[in-house]
Symmetry: C2
Subunit: 337 residues, 2 copies
Amino acid sequence: MSLAAALLGGPGPVQRRAIAKAITLLESTRTDHRQQADALLTELLPHTGRALRLGISGVPGVGKSTFIEALGLFLIDQGLRVAVLAVDPSSSVSGGSILGDKTRMERLSMDERAYIRPSPSSGTLGGVAEKTREAMLICEAAGFDVVIVETVGVGQSETAVAGMTDMYCLLQLPNAGDDLQAIKKGVMELADLVVINKADIDAAAATRAQAQIASSLRLFGQLGHPDHAHHDRTIWHPRAMQLSALKADGIDSFWAAVSEYRDLQTANGRLAAKRQAQAQAWMWERIQAGLRQRFAEAPAVRAVLAETTAQVLNGTLAASTAARRLLAKFSGENDHA
Amino acid sequence: MSLAAALLGGPGPVQRRAIAKAITLLESTRTDHRQQADALLTELLPHTGRALRLGISGVPGVGKSTFIEALGLFLIDQGLRVAVLAVDPSSSVSGGSILGDKTRMERLSMDERAYIRPSPSSGTLGGVAEKTREAMLICEAAGFDVVIVETVGVGQSETAVAGMTDMYCLLQLPNAGDDLQAIKKGVMELADLVVINKADIDAAAATRAQAQIASSLRLFGQLGHPDHAHHDRTIWHPRAMQLSALKADGIDSFWAAVSEYRDLQTANGRLAAKRQAQAQAWMWERIQAGLRQRFAEAPAVRAVLAETTAQVLNGTLAASTAARRLLAKFSGENDHA
């Protein structure tokens, strides 16, 4: 049986092994594997797109694993299949992965209706994000209903996750510093839903945080789109809510909000438009990365890059002049190859 | 007399015409002009770097022109020569320029110790910023002591201006919405100095705004660099101040703060390090832009780009597969040229 057939053949141990094999293939650095992975993706693509793609981020300690496990078990109870993927650009440095230890989500990882995959562990954020996007497509073709992509928020990983999911949820602790950090990093304005976790520890603080974040989100909405009145019920307005993942309290309300988002954004056409824009942006992001790699690896560029950079740094060559010279080397390189 | 000699020959009508001619040359799209401009820049570069590069941004209505004129006249009074350049990526759309009308800074523009140049009026933000950076070098070689680069803050122009100046100042009105917008856009955290203008209109509001912004800046500093105690006097901590440009009230305090910044950042080595990092980032930004242009103009890419993009948008081709195919076309194109 071909890999595609095994993936499309429905749940079970055969499909499970096929998913793992497909993801290993697309994470491989071998050219022939990459070609096989591209052929597989093209074959599977018509079978993708039916899952809800849910991005979850939050700083360490916010309770992401507990939340995702509670959500995953809730969804499985509803008869849905759940895949959990991760974007962790730091795993290449630390050698470990935020999801490497499956005991982190012990109950969920043992359930055959769930599939948990740690972050690809090598390369740039762009490369890690690309492999996760492709793994998401594999899971969708395999019939998972919800694909959760989580990130711990290192570097620009929140932006990467928001750029590959339908709905981006930010987990926050009930305190204001956390809040301002999210605003500062530009993460707050990516959020479709801000979830204040650990509401059971300090209900008053959680309620204050919820009101404050809701107010920021409203103001952001007004600043970004002054014409969009907040009472327009045909579009989604980012909102804040509180829950306790540890006590599995509020997970149903969270899922109700996600479902409302999905219905609204499907009806008004924004979900489809978002996915198209994401795909196009992703294509150009990968093109840019590929061009930069080709440039950096071109022998004619490598021969002079260090010296040219030194001239720019010591002030004997204008940066724009240096760029033009290096680009000329690159083009010459290709012309005479 | 060569253009370089005229530029280096000291103030006067000859130098003035040479500056205009040099800037026209580097704004030209003709290849031979571009080559001449590069040669000129390389010749002038050893004579640059002695000016203070001051970035000024703020939304329309904040009083930027009034502030820059008041500051310019103050500096001229101190015996300094002042150049004012602008980055206005919208000028290519509007056809006009934020500095096109010199009556905007009537007194300053008539003073021969000042040089005012409107924004280059065509191209992308990257292209406009590049020409402004180069014009800045021309002005430095001509012996100007202070180069002010202003922007109205369209798109990412604040980031571009912060990326080419020693000190980035944000002008704000004394109200909170303005404040939050700056935080949201990520401009507040670029700011070395936030200036609340029009303090004469509502002193109480200006004082509230100053306290609030100072508090945000402190918190940003702690979030970004938890190890840098705010009392460390060997480094600069972003601060907020208020003034009235219209009444020329507070310009001296502003300049005192700028001078303090310059002295501190010169002594601790951060100014030199910042300029090096800016030059290197600038070089790579231009390389990326150049690569993207070469890619988009390559016949083999152009032949299939529209169709490939359509396949990505209608979901029959994965974005990463599309990127790899287009990159292969690009490389093939160059190999067989």
